[in-house]
């Protein structure tokens, strides 16, 4: 799975980080912070492996 340009985003109302914007296999997506979501699980795996960094939210 090719994940690029990962960056947290905030809930527009609460101002708290609630997901990650990134591209997966060149498709732009928003990934929720749910361990049962297989994309988020893969993001965590790549971060742990040191191959992916998630930028802070604006």
């Amino acid at each position: 799975m090719d994940i690029k340009s990962a960056k947290y985003y905030k809930n527009g109302i609460t101002g708290k980080a609630c997901g990650i914007y990134c591209t997966i296999d060149d498709v732009e997506v928003a990934v929720p912070l749910d361990p049962a979501n297989t994309d988020y699980a893969e993001i965590l795996r790549q971060v742990a492996a040191g191959t992916l960094t998630i930028a802070d939210a604006d």
């Binding site: 090719d2 609630c18 997901g19 997966i24 296999d25 928003a30 990934v31 929720p32 297989t38 994309d39």
Partner: protein, 335 residues
Amino acid sequence: MSKAAELAALIGSGQAQGNKNFIINGAMTIDQRHDGSSFTVVNGNSTTGVIADRFRVNEASGAEFTAQRVADAPVGFEYSSKITVSTADASLGSTEFHRMIQPIEGKNISNLNWGTSNAKTLTLTFYVKSSVTGQYYISVFNNAADRTLLKGYTIDSANTWEKKTITIIGDQTGTWLTTNAVGIHLMWSLGTGSTYQSSTLDAYQAGFYMAKSDQVNLAATNGSTWQLTGVQLEVGDVATPFEHEDVGTTLAKCQRYYETLLNHNGSFNVIATYRSGTDYRAQWIFKTEKRATPTMGGSFSATITTTYISTQMASYYKSDGDFYGSATLTATAEL
């Protein structure tokens, strides 16, 4: 056994009842992502390797494939999922492989009692057609990929639909999840490197394997094809006729894992919008509750943010102006 006794036995086992197929979209009826269009599968593809819904090609070698749901099927079916080798890789490295797979959600297999002494036997039926004859294997493995059952089948005639029936005994040990994670992986090997090969057949073993060493490498020759349809996995050791369910039922089952929303003239086709001052909010209420909180896809203007995602809905927020988005929004909760 008389026909009446056979019927009584089937009813008693649950086989003669509806909704008997653990496989979703076994007739390849639903193709939400591509609607019959072809696409390329290369090394590293993940959910983008889905052909017909719930059936995914995983490619991890130097080969490339063209994948497509096609209107070519045996009598009684309309579609099949077809894989065509577009770039050959005749010599697979030890960890390289290609495969077709359907992960089955744990919540759907809780009645099988796998991992206990009451583990139920399953029967797998499918139709397969390939330009390459020879020995092939299916693999049944658990979520942790530490328990595997390998079963072989042969393709006897090139470019001819063949019906295969395979008995899958239940595993009395190991952990087979009954949660919203994968309960059972069912996969068809299309070529497997030595790391994932085992000579142990017809019995569960520790570890993760995909085939025996004599498995055909479909990618050995450019232009080779392999097709699959009519997949049914049911309780018991008797293969019953394929359960053709109505398209709405199959679509709803598929939408637990993937759902699309088409927009209209560049605007969100949402069920409701809300405005407070210059703030706009919109919600997409999913037709089917998702397995897990889904990944949201689609292109947005820079100022639109996804503010909330649950298994039932997604909310969007824009500080001013109208919403607009891509032609198709997606919610993905694949296993």
